[in-house]
Symmetry: C2
Subunit: 638 residues, 2 copies
Amino acid sequence: MEIIRSNFKDNLNKVYEAIEEADFLAIDGEFSGISDGPSVSTLTNGFDTPEERYQKLKKHSMDFLLFQFGLCSFKYDHTEAKYIMKSFNFYIFPKPFNRSSPDVKFVCQSSSIDFLANQGFDFNKVFRNGIPYLNQEEERQLREQYDERRSQANGAGTLSYISPNATKCPVTIPEDQKKFIERVVEQIEDLIQNEENKNLQLEPSIPGIIYLCHYCFQKERYIVISKVDEEERKRREQQKQAKEQEELSDAVGFSRVIHAIANSGKLVVGHNMLLDVMHTIHQFYCPLPEVSGLVSLQVIYKMYPEIRSNSSEIYCGWKLLDTKLMASTQPFKEIINNTSLAELEKRLKEIPFNPPEVESAEGFPSYDTASEQLHEAGYDAYITGLCFISMANYLGSFLSPPKNHVSARSKLIEPFFNKLFLMRVMDIPYLNLEGPDLQPKRDHVLHVTFPKEWKTSDLYQLFSAFGNIQVSWIDDTSAFVSLSQPEQVQIAVNTSRYAESYRIQTYAEYVEKKHEEKQAKRKWTEDSWKEMERKRLKTQYTPYIPQSRYYCVNSFTATSTMGKRSMSPIQEETGSDDVEEREIQDTELDETDCYAESVPEGRKRAKKFKKVKKEQDPTGKSNVAESAFLSFSCLEPL
Amino acid sequence: MEIIRSNFKDNLNKVYEAIEEADFLAIDGEFSGISDGPSVSTLTNGFDTPEERYQKLKKHSMDFLLFQFGLCSFKYDHTEAKYIMKSFNFYIFPKPFNRSSPDVKFVCQSSSIDFLANQGFDFNKVFRNGIPYLNQEEERQLREQYDERRSQANGAGTLSYISPNATKCPVTIPEDQKKFIERVVEQIEDLIQNEENKNLQLEPSIPGIIYLCHYCFQKERYIVISKVDEEERKRREQQKQAKEQEELSDAVGFSRVIHAIANSGKLVVGHNMLLDVMHTIHQFYCPLPEVSGLVSLQVIYKMYPEIRSNSSEIYCGWKLLDTKLMASTQPFKEIINNTSLAELEKRLKEIPFNPPEVESAEGFPSYDTASEQLHEAGYDAYITGLCFISMANYLGSFLSPPKNHVSARSKLIEPFFNKLFLMRVMDIPYLNLEGPDLQPKRDHVLHVTFPKEWKTSDLYQLFSAFGNIQVSWIDDTSAFVSLSQPEQVQIAVNTSRYAESYRIQTYAEYVEKKHEEKQAKRKWTEDSWKEMERKRLKTQYTPYIPQSRYYCVNSFTATSTMGKRSMSPIQEETGSDDVEEREIQDTELDETDCYAESVPEGRKRAKKFKKVKKEQDPTGKSNVAESAFLSFSCLEPL
């Protein structure tokens, strides 16, 4: 169901109802761009830590507009043994609603806009009929403004009936206007004296008029002076108040849907949803927190106690699941080659999976997965939901006895909660919203600094003695280079000692130095405290050690004849229909442009997942789920 | 005529022809926003110097996209005594054309987008079918890339036929791929041996393949290896080159129209055209220059000698005329009350003006000025042209004998060349592209600094002893306050000496201090040189002294109950159809919100323009035109 500004209010209760009755929700967003700074390949460096990635996206992705939001509710009908689905496709636009409302500026990235245009995206619908919204601070300010105005009109009643400046600055009436003013004064005196007259309308558009009655001032540019008794005044005041309340509600607009989702406590499913979640918080709640170290999104309610106290359930209620992460994890990753949304949806209809039984609710249009409508947020949310159902149900097949239906409340899927897929990070699969992030060893990784003229081929030449290497660009003059053997690392560092044009250090040295620089800059502030906290947590947490160091990385490794690195890959040229790879728009780059790149070894080394009969352990957690989760430790290409 | 990406090439010659045959051209642009920084009222402070205004627009307006460009050519038909008009409405969008092309990010301002949406602006046409463009630097880079690639393919011919990495980094072929590689090698050997076979197509999408023939690599993700003799190779090379040339031309796209306009040397007319000109240079030529002091736009060809040498005629050729400035100047300003485009067009149809005789050229649609299509750039350009014709012809009525038709080449209009209207500046009507800017005295102006809680009403109170004042906000803690008498200035400064919460200085002191700060920051650089130059010019130039100090200013002076100052006025609320005031979007603010504001005295003091019989003076300049121009010195509300 398409929801725009003109039908939003009429359908809001339908949306609330769908959220309330749902077993789980699926969401998806479309944005006006991805990166306003570095190229996307630099934005998503293969050796970003989760914190670094978060900071980069926060810095370079939040000025874009989330202008389409897909919401799909899934409710399981036990009698019919199928899901009933309600899908909503919202168009969003920050239409200023009055003079003092925020005049939002947002960035558009040509390649993203062009991509959506090619998909038939309707920009006119967004800009002409998008639903407005306010974040919590804007809502608070608007409420305050209304309150202030009201208390002015009520409490200091008399004040609002005199010229605001009268007591402060006596107005000198110019000679040529005196006659006009005298006539107005006469008219007003006449109004007050005369019982029958109730209203006095002054001449419209009188130049230079002194506004005697600010309160009665109308937008239409003439002034009406009314005689009202106390009762009538109160009635008008109440009318006005009710109107204001409705205006406020209208202005909060789409944010009300987001509040309802968060307050529902329902599981929210998304595919590669980190950016969706960040945009949703940034656009409809509050600025993203300045987090450092391991804590990230989840600290919002710690950092903004006023939010917590006002609506603590909002952030405590988030229960997110990323289907791209799920598909990249045991027991799925061995039987799913391509985790892009469209491919995943197709794969999950085939053996050993079962296509989910899903039907549109009455009065809701149904999507046809055969004729794809990819990149409409509502459709993408819908097939994300389908993917989740298939995968959740598949987990049920490992139970004893096997179950065909695994609900969104099942313990089996809990290990996937609040972990968001990290695009293209080689050795850390997710950003953890609920605890410390994973700490990979990276003892086979070098940090190399070099002149800005260098291209990838220069790095290949430099490391030609070390066999296959992988290059992850950081910026124009530095990159991570991962070797196939950690033993080679010290050799590389040693041989580079006397080099003049470039500099090599180990990943550990690089991290240490970066950390020192940071510390030097900082004072003993909130930030330092957090850093301490990070260290404390770090020591408590068993570091994560990847077993395999050789992956088919997504970092870009080709020498392009057109330049150092490709900048804005065009979707239609790459011919890709890979959904979330498109979102980080250099999709096919790796496959098409790179040479001398080996077959992903990981795929070969993948162990067969063994069907094990399990019982529930006393904590209530399924061992299957645990083993699925633990299988992250055997990292392979995602 | 609507020109979009799909019909651009087919109609380009029509556009060239229209420019070539025209007597003059009219232009207009529509942008995705106005200010990404301060509110528009702060962006257009009433006491900006032309340089300050330029710097502010440069800083806060150039990240928006000019996405619709109107061009209207007017050719006078002497036999029929009427103009033949050709109107073009171009949709512009920086669609990236390949992977290495710039991925432009542009800003949208919600209030501007909303305004255009309400006018029925077609965003889908822009984003789906806008014409691409390149500025000169981007064009140069692209040309270089093509040249480099070509020299690689030709000169170092052999190099392009071997694996780019082969000499640098011996590839270790993994055990499991050896068989596959051997088979490929066999196939290639077979191709070389066998006379009959000309092509070899390798299996598509082979994972991890070593690309033996980069040159033959196709986008379609398979590899074709061809045997070609020298002749065939050259033929293919030429084909490729021709294709590249066309690609380059397509990429330069709409910029070719701008080049043609500039190269034509034709008079280009616009209404309130400063932003249009700045956007045009910034988007289709090169970054705007960092000018300081009196020199501004016109220095581009001095600062970028490479542009001058390549196409010196471009900047030397600009001959611009601003119809809003013209209408605000003698002999027009006394008989034209409202210089907004729509109002001006209406006024210029009435006595003493004559509605211009204009007809659409054959095959070109005609606009109906009765049913306004304001804010379509093509239509706005059209009525701007109409306004120019009416005003130019009116100047002919002062000649002896009077002339009904005054051409765009007439000396009568030369005084208006290359002076662009300055929106809302109280005492400097234009930014001069050809010489030093006017220097107003401003001896009745104070610079006031105060706590950020202050509102306009606090300033009124502070200056209540001085009668009528005008406030021009600079930022949250400072404003210019102009008094009605310069004699009051020193009194105000003296009485403020011991004030703690605020600080008052004269305008002259403010300028001096600002200048000192600037100097302190600077080294002896190019900039300092320019400053010297500015001083030199200043001493040569007779300072401009305004005769009247009391105008109905456009600066915002109201106390709003909703906040300190209004931020994003909504067009539909103000109900204005004032075109260029809308562009600086707080149109009706002054009239609707302010109180205790006096009738513009200037209007009363306007001297009747006397019809004088004139002869041409020896310099060839008409005295009428000169007196029209000189009448700036008697400044009144514009």
